[in-house]
Amino acid sequence: MTLTEKILAKASGNSKLDAGDNAWVNVDILMTHDVCGPPTIGIFKKHFGEHAKVWDKEKVVIIPDHYIFTKDKYANRNIDILREFAREQDLPHYYDVGTDRYKGVCHVAMPEEGFTRPGNVLFGTDSHTCTAGAFGQFATGIGNTDAGFILGTGKLWVKVPETMKFIFDGEIPPYIMAKDLILQIIGDIGVDGATYRAMEFAGDGVMDMDMEGRMTLTNMVIEAGGKNGIIEPDEVTFDYVRSRTDYNFEALFNDEKAQYHSVRRYKSSELLPMVAKPHSPDNKATVREVEGTPLTRAYIGSCTGGKISDFIAAAKIIKGHELKLDTYIVPATTLIREQLKTETYEGETLWDIFESRGCQMGEASCAACLGGPSDTFGRLNHEEICISTTNRNFPGRMGSKKAQVYLASPYTVAASAITGKITDPREYLSVEAGVAV
């Protein structure tokens, strides 16, 4: 069996499952946030009763993150509903807005708080729940009805997916980031190239990455239609998880004879900085092919591009340069926002590097990654042409339908912020990376 099949077999009490089988699995963690939490709670109460209790309060995690810093009354009402539910159910894992427990973007807060664990089954009411597959677990997004069902029963049916394996052989070049790998893959297979399937990432190019890089890969499997992304756990995974939780997990691995839907191999040394052009994540081009395209904004943030390693990468490029673009810095979580003030590059904190260059510094949340209410930080309200480290560039995703979004790595976004047009990061990394330009 593949790793995904094994996790689902264990969670459903089967000794064996094949791709295509349907199984009812026991859920280790259910995660929800401020947009889908309130309707999920509504469905739970409608079907299980006004005073029903959730199946296991240790297994429910509620992380408001989407519409936080807004005056929109409906958005704020959503937070009130979560708060009230957490209180009446006495939920230990609720991270309330306006308190020092507030975290920010759920998919990054989950690992920080030790809720992502090898071998586990995680469902979340958000399509990027697949991010947690980086920890060698089964993790996927579901809707509110399914989530309401889990709240009451702790179970859900799943169709066991086939696995597509993507192997990166050899060391990743220093100007390439995980975002370039996943944009390459999505461009190669298309936005529906992995529909209903698991996408597994492997090879030394992947296993040499830290957890944040791996999370960037698994985060975007949904952009290829994937059900879950997964990476076999190793010491890097175990160290990360054990330093954040005492939870006893059982790691699982692929069998040698596992059957895959397909296996694709990439030579890491041949990878190039990539973008996804408007208006689809599979509309791929190398940065060289679109170099010089004029831009009006740069955005570094979200669950896929607002982690501390993303900001370190951007700061490396930006340090010592003036910026031509309005540049928005949106840390995914409050912890990362603090780290911006303590992490340094060449003796200067990341915060100072960005702020002194006129960057707009945001609070931890989803912010303009999904547009949101019109007063959302960084939202594209007009005809902006934005280069962004986020994961989606559908029409209107970051605000106005008239805006255009290019997706790229933090290196490429930072290099483009300096010149005001799409720019290959190798222009700015040549000395340090020892690469000829």
């Binding site: 349907n22 997004g141 509110n144």
Partner: protein, 184 residues
């Protein structure tokens, strides 16, 4: 689910959930009747105008002064419902009055939500049917024979049987299914 009859609305490939119901509309309550009607009003309003109602485009799914759509069946290109996991997407289609959608392939979360929530039936077609239908054509889906017929042109096309999910669709959603099966 025997027969569904009504006017068809035609869309292209990769209709994502932001196009079905844009994120800034998600603040309305789904429980309060006076607010949930807005999901009908804004359903599919995120589709670029020239692609809204093919082949000509520029047809709103729901008229700007109405809360319900005149279209009960959507025929779309591949990968319908990609993007976010928001259940508001199939829900908004139901609120607008849609009964079924027909596409060669779905993004899985949309498919699951449509089925488990009992919102509307996602039928898979064997081929891309977007050129066989024009927005406003009269259409009939036969859930027993698994066909879709364009009553305007008189031509029928096969649909894939619902398979594993038929029991949930017929029960009307995952809760109704689980109740019947004695699980809850």
């Amino acid at each position: 689910m025997s027969k569904i009859k009504g006017k068809v609305f035609v869309l292209g490939d990769n209709i994502d959930t932001d196009q079905i119901i844009s994120a800034h509309h998600l603040v309305y309550s789904l429980d309060k009747p006076e607010e949930r009607i807005f999901y009908g009003r804004f359903c599919l309003s995120g589709v670029p105008d020239e692609q809204s109602g093919l082949p000509g485009g520029n047809i709103p799914f729901t008229d700007p002064d109405k809360f319900e759509s005149e279209f009960s069946i959507v025929v779309a290109g591949k990968n319908f419902g990609c993007g976010s996991s928001r259940e508001h997407a199939p829900f908004s289609m139901q609120i607008a009055g849609a009964k079924a959608v027909v596409s060669p392939t779905y993004a899985r979360i949309f498919y699951r939500n449509a089925v488990d929530g009992g919102f509307l039936i996602p039928y898979e077609s064997l081929e891309d049917l977007t050129e066989k239908f024009s927005t406003h054509d009269e259409v009939e889906i036969d859930g027993v024979k698994d066909t879709i017929t364009n009553l305007t042109t008189g031509k029928s096309y096969p649909l894939k049987p619902l398979g594993d999910v038929a029991d949930i669709v017929n029960a009307g959603g995952i809760f109704e299914f689980a109740k019947k099966a004695g699980m809850v």
